[in-house]
Symmetry: C2
Subunit: 418 residues, 2 copies
């Protein structure tokens, strides 16, 4: 009997009416002969309210108590979903993280799942009962409630799918799939029918807020096919088009370029003529790591004489002031000057077919050149080319690249959509 | 080291500001050298909202899921209270019912506590940590969340106090103690410094909504001294006046009459000339019990001939129509007529000293007679005399009886209060 995991995000269970609608989708999967486990987020706004209560008491809290408070929203939704399924004549029961149990480490607020004791749940599923898991929650080694970080219910769903050896993990959210780029910037952006884990990971890390990054990593590691679907149309299961995130081998016709992503509000820092000696990079970045400043692109060019080097890297704009004062106060290295630019955007071209196709980078640079968009920094990986440009050119760059790689909807697509 | 349990009801933790104020009270108990376990209700209104969600989905629900939903409010408060205590420099942690565990039977929605595994909590208390228990919750035999019924946090607190062998259980609520009668009816009503469990039980069952009846039963059974205090003044501990509910033996100077209670919206049903044969009462009341109609006072008078009997009993006014139709459709007994009156009030005089004092009943009947208040039914127990009167005379009766038994504040009290 096919077994699937279906996950509903906060906007998909925002109120009782939406929960009922989500329950209808689950019932249809059950009627199709699937064993179904459902994973639910808190009703939209609830988690924010709970976080707000904690902050009203103290800006910095014991993460164990924070978790006890904020995990309660998912508990409510899980019970309500079970009730809505029972009303529809479907056997169902709620499961809290500690009941499964979803065993986590003790990193409260951003716990990692160690293992899942799914035996009782498997038995319940085999008995024809729908399992409704409160997402986001886990159980620490010391029997306390943990949470998996914001967006953690995606990870709950993928982890559960892995443990249950589910055939598919459907993620219902407020978008109906993964697009070639942000449709608000490029109205002709096309929904991708399939995308590889690696591409999804690049796109999720760089601003395509469809899935929590960790959930994609876990899906890739455990080979869980994840389908992104909209909870606001009647799309259900594999016969209606969402986006299937799967392993590269399953994708017959690979796109050379799958999408264009953009991360705005980036800042660039350049250290001019740093004394070049072994370990200098470590001394530069150590204080930033200690201050939890996330450093992204890093470029280093050794000068002609080999004695000095320029180091350029990017951080989030919100971290720029912290970064500059840390560097200026550091006595661990010497450099001629610290330059910065706080109004940049990183635009990336992502595509698994890039591995076997030359000319992707050339097209990118030519396109940006034609639009007179200056490139500050270039960084590449096997399936991605990223450039740092002035933020004011970001949307123009996205539109130009989207067109240059021919990512628009085809005429065929247009007819279907019209 | 003295150990106490402190319980805060919903209005005492209604919002973050109130939680902070409650935390102040706990800190003061800690500074006095007590080991403290705190029991909290949900923030006022939260449980009602959760119940409302359940009812929106289905009027009758699986009580297991209902419990999963409605128990979450206490979880939130327990975490917030722990945070508020930590902010004040006091070590504290929250405990959910399943963590302690509070082991219950499987009667979801009105579970009874079987036993409490308080070892881990005792260890935590001995280590100087305040334990904050989410009230109202328990764990069923099948590892599901149960709840103890509305007002169940009182029972959580008393049960915890029993298991921890606490020296005292302080219940902070929105009244500052137990009064001789409802102060809204008799402004001169006096707060009782002490009352016996038996008296409190009679008063709680009959409309003095200070403590959940079950919590008083448990306190009596396990001999837990319970102190009722207001969370809206600075009364803390035993040096400020609340009402101490304790065993009769601890009360040196017993009041002959401790209080006057009144239950309004009572209905009386009289079956005239029922065929008097063994077991007739059972046949009359069986269908009512099956329909969960709670029958209260029952009076039976056998007629002169011994062949027929009149049976009179009371039910809540809201149950009257159900009761009448059940009786009229019953073929299990015969009677001449079914009479009813749906506008009655039960007024009771409660006092443990009554056992050893004659004349209490006489004073009651004389007082009501002087006010020309007709008595429909009389029922008595060792420490209580109840009469059923027309509802329109209820307040007059309470005032007259309060005065007749000399329950007003003394001049001494007035001076203290003024």
């Amino acid at each position: 009997m096919p077994r699937i995991v279906v996950k509903f995000g906060g906007t998909s269970v925002a109120d009782v009416a939406r929960i009922e609608r989500a329950a209808d989708k689950v019932v249809r999967e059950v009627k199709r002969g699937n064993q179904v486990a459902v994973v639910v987020s808190a009703m939209a706004g609830v988690t924010n309210q709970l976080v707000e209560y904690c902050h009203q008491i103290a800006p910095y809290q014991d993460a164990q108590e924070y978790d006890a408070v904020v995990s309660s929203g998912e508990q409510v939704t899980s019970g309500l979903m079970a009730l809505a399924l029972q009303k529809r004549g479907v056997k169902a029961r709620s499961w809290q993280g500690w009941q499964v149990p979803i065993r986590c480490d003790n990193s409260h607020g951003r716990a990692r799942i160690r293992d899942i004791g799914g035996e009782a749940m498997k038995e319940s599923l085999s008995g024809g009962e729908v399992a409704v898991l409160a997402g986001f929650q886990g159980l620490s080694k010391t029997n306390r409630i943990t949470t998996l970080g914001r967006g953690g219910s995606d990870t709950s769903a993928v982890a559960l799918a892995a443990v249950l050896a589910a055939d598919r993990c459907d993620i219902y959210t407020d978008v109906d799939g993964v697009y070639t780029t942000d449709p608000r910037v490029v109205p002709a952006a096309r929904k991708l029918p399939m995308i590889s884990y690696e591409e999804m990971l690049e796109m999720a890390s760089m601003g395509a807020k469809v899935l929590q990054v960790r959930s994609v990593e876990m899906a890739m590691k455990r080979d869980v096919p994840v389908q992104v679907l909209s909870s606001f149309d009647d799309a259900i299961g594999s016969d209606m088009p969402g986006t299937l995130v799967t392993k590269e081998g399953n994708i017959m016709e690979k796109e050379i370029v799958s999408g264009i992503t953009c991360q705005r509000n980036e800042a660039k820092v350049t250290l001019l003529n740093v004394q070049n000696k072994p370990g200098v990079a470590a001394t530069v970045f150590a204080p930033l790591a200690a201050a939890k400043v996330n450093v992204d692109m890093i470029v280093q060019n050794v000068g002609h004489d080999g004695k000095t080097t320029d180091i350029t890297f990017t951080v989030a704009k919100t971290d720029l002031q912290t970064t500059l004062s840390l560097l200026e106060n550091s006595t661990d290295f010497e450099c001629e000057a610290v330059l910065s630019n706080g109004s940049l955007a990183r635009v990336s071209v992502v595509g698994i077919g890039m591995k076997s196709h030359a000319g992707v980078a050339k097209t990118m640079f030519e396109t940006l050149g034609r639009h007179k968009i200056n490139i500050h920094v270039i960084a590449t990986s096997e399936i991605k080319i990223s450039v740092l440009i002035d933020d004011s050119y970001a949307e123009e760059a996205i539109r130009a690249l989207h067109e240059a790689y021919g990512l628009e909807k085809s005429n065929h697509d247009d007819k279907n959509n019209g």
